[in-house]
């Protein structure tokens, strides 16, 4: 009896320690001690984060995970990927299971405040669109009156859909699914007249449908969807690291630094010199951490062309061009 009580008491004493592990605190130290960055991605969105036949992940979001890993650990491949559904993602981030969430996540007020997240600068400016069957005769959003629309749950698109259609007086039947795969499988089978998500997501998923050329993406965007990396509240330095790694890819493009020339780039410009050298020590990282990030995945243009370019989403003239070309990408001074 006594022995049982002692064991029970010992277990009880361990409970708080077990439950409150890895929350808040020093994420950088935790990642470096672990030697691996835990990165939450979609995993069902080719071009952004898709699963290859050999089990590896590739894509735009995946490359940003590699960039942060390269900056923090000096090894771009030291990443463990966690494919997450939309409803899971914030809970998994809040629980400390992942260090960083890069899952085509839209930056909104309630996610920033209620859900306790911090958003790094958007890496991809997008808008919500619709995909329909080419033979349906639907040419615009107004034509969707009375239609069944497939949508993923736990997304901003689910809310935009209700908001926009109510504002325009358009009726619709929502058919709502947990995962991206389910949503598009149901659409492909004909359960819905249209499917909605971010325009980039539609372009990405169209490649996975039975017959891609049978489907049209309506050009109209009904919302603003700035997509970017997310970290949890409570660790400002970690937030800074993620934020400035994103800016580093913008800056590298502005300065003309690529994964090819980063080692031999002319450092006569003082800002470039700081960028490639000691500035990363301000975050508690090794000198040259940003150079390592660029060396691992390249600058923004390289990341975009490698992953998003093949989907046929043009960058020129759009929001995702550098500010030098009339876009929104703009790196604050590295000083």
């Amino acid at each position: 009896m006594k022995r049982i009580l002692i064991v029970a008491f010992a277990v009880l004493l361990m409970v708080p320690g077990l439950l409150s592990s890895a929350q808040g605190g020093d994420t950088l130290a935790a990642v470096q001690a672990r030697g691996v960055l835990n990165c939450g991605v979609n995993g069902q969105l080719p071009g952004f984060s898709g699963l290859e036949s050999d089990g590896s992940f590739t894509g735009f979001d995946v490359d940003y995970c590699h960039a942060v890993a390269a900056a923090v650990l000096g090894d771009g491949d030291a990443v463990e990927f966690f494919p997450l559904t939309a409803p899971q993602r914030f809970d998994v981030l809040a629980s400390g299971e992942i260090d960083l969430l890069i899952r085509n996540t839209t930056y909104t007020v309630s996610r920033d405040t209620d859900l306790g997240n911090n958003f790094a600068p958007p890496t991809f400016y997008d808008g919500q669109g619709f995909m329909v069957r080419a033979d349906s005769g639907i040419g615009s959003v107004a034509d969707l009156d009375g239609a069944s629309i497939c949508v993923g749950t736990g997304t901003t698109t689910e809310l935009n859909l209700a908001d926009t259609f109510a504002a325009r007086g358009i009726n619709f039947e929502p058919v709502v699914f947990e995962t991206t795969d389910e949503t598009f499988a149901a659409y492909d089978a004909g359960r819905c007249d249209a499917v909605t998500t971010d325009l980039s997501g539609l372009a990405s998923r169209r490649t996975t449908l039975g017959n891609p050329s049978d489907h049209n993406i309506l050009s109209e965007a009904i919302s603003k969807e700035p997509l970017g990396p997310v970290v949890r509240h409570g660790d400002d330095n970690w937030y800074d690291i993620v934020k400035w790694t994103v800016y580093a890819t913008f800056f590298a493009e502005e300065a003309g630094i690529t994964s090819g020339n980063v080692g031999s780039f002319d450092r006569s410009d003082p800002e470039v010199d700081r960028f490639l050298g000691e500035i990363s020590t301000k975050f508690g990282l090794d000198a040259g951490a940003f150079a390592a990030a660029i060396g691992a995945v390249g600058n923004y243009g390289e990341i975009y062309d490698r992953n998003v370019g093949p989907l046929g989403i043009a960058r020129e003239g759009g929001l995702n061009a550098s500010f030098q070309n009339g876009g929104l990408l703009y790196a604050p001074p590295f000083r």
């Binding site: 409970v15 409150s20 309630s110 239609a147 359960r191 409570g234």
Partner: protein, 390 residues
């Protein structure tokens, strides 16, 4: 003697005191555990900058729920979304329980049939269905069967009913403006039917004959309902047929693809378990009972109705209750196939508000209430049919 009373037993040897002590220690441990858990929760919430509270249920939900039972608008608050989800859960559970019971009873009796083919079919059904996880079956029914039905434009039609991958569209009688008058007639008819039921029951009792007074009452009610229908003037109910619109059918009522697939999956699955209960119940009735009934000259159907079933029910009903509870709780697997039950609504609410803890508490309360209600009804029924001990 006096010396002995002085040397009292030490308390760690006194079983009565030890028992009390153990209880006290246990209570203290439970309190400590509770305190640690609550404290840990509070610390985690503080770290994340979140607060605990149910006020957010008043906020506007701003998501859409497809109309399955109650109408829901994006301006409605979160608590109403939970209510809509709960009604959807009750809808699928209630219809599911009724249909699964019917299916299970038929299959259970079929399993005992002397016809080789019928009993084999029942056996194969049971063995296949109850050995495959329900989630797998639901995904099969939804993604492999229901969604692959013909497109709405080419739907299968029979007697005004349309079946397509958008759902099952049925003609439905909607009340017209004279319905309230007819409803009063119906109320009167119901009272007369109850009187007829009591009269017929007493009559049968006096004559010591078996029978169904319920049938008499139903007949009386239907005749009265039909007669008053014509007194009311304009028809109190208007039959509405589904008509194909631009994308879909309008008019009548619709059982959505998601609802149909979920109901189908739940009924087939639970029916397999119920059929085994029915079989076990019937086989539990001693063979001598049937032989005695036959020796008394009762027909086959009367043997089943008067001798076998009343005794079999005593064995069937208690485990049947847990099957009903299983079906109700299994309906939460709807999240996999897009039906808006209370779990799905709760998930969406958690995701949009970040108040996971509060929503899960409400969700558990919902299922607990449903389960306790079902148990209550079934226990009451069980008391009625159980062996009267004298």
């Amino acid at each position: 003697m006096a010396e002995k009373s002085k040397t009292s037993i030490p308390f760690w040897r006194d079983i009565r005191k030890l028992n009390v002590l153990i209880q006290i220690v246990f209570v203290i441990l439970v309190i400590i555990a509770g305190f640690v858990l609550v404290n840990n929760m509070q610390t985690s919430l503080d770290q994340l900058g979140k607060t605990f509270g149910f006020e957010f249920f008043q906020d506007q939900s701003s998501f859409a729920i497809p109309p399955e039972s109650l109408e829901f608008d994006r301006t409605d608050p979160y608590w109403y979304a939970i209510v809509v989800g709960l009604v959807n859960t009750v809808k699928v559970a209630l219809i599911g329980i009724i249909l699964a019971t019917i299916l299970g009873t038929f299959m259970g009796i079929a399993r005992l049939s002397s016809n080789w083919l019928i009993s084999k079919i029942a056996e194969i059904y049971v063995e296949i269905i109850r050995n495959i996880p329900l989630l797998v079956q639901l995904i099969f029914w939804y993604f492999a069967v229901f969604v692959n039905l013909p497109d709405a434009r080419f739907s299968i039609e029979f007697f005004g009913v349309f079946l397509s991958n958008r759902g099952l569209f049925l003609p439905w009688a909607f009340p017209s403006e004279t319905f309230s008058i007819w409803a009063i007639y119906l109320g009167v008819a119901l009272i007369i039917a109850i009187i007829a039921y009591i009269y017929r029951r007493n009559q049968l009792k006096r004559a010591e004959r078996p029978g169904f007074p319920g049938f008499t009452a139903m007949g009386v009610f239907m005749v009265l309902a039909a007669m008053t229908w014509f007194f009311t003037g304009p028809a109190p109910l208007n039959l509405e047929f589904p008509v194909f619109g631009r994308f879909n059918f309008d008019g009548g009522i619709v059982l959505s693809t998601e609802f149909s697939a979920l109901l189908f999956g739940l009924v087939i699955y639970t029916g397999a378990f119920i059929s085994e209960l029915v079989r076990a119940g019937i086989q539990a009735v001693a063979k001598g009972q049937v032989e005695a009934a036959k020796a008394l000259g009762l027909k086959g159907s009367k043997v089943l109705q008067l001798v076998v079933l009343p005794q079999a029910l005593r064995v069937i009903v208690p485990p049947l209750t847990s099957q009903y509870l299983n079906l109700t709780k299994n309906s939460s697997l709807a999240v996999a196939i897009g039906y808006f039950d209370v779990t799905r609504v709760a998930n969406t609410t958690i995701n949009q508000t970040g108040h996971g803890l509060e929503v899960i508490i409400i969700l558990m309360a919902c299922y607990l209430t449903l389960s306790l209600l079902i148990s209550m009804v079934m226990n009451a029924y069980n008391r009625r049919i159980k062996l009267v001990e004298r």
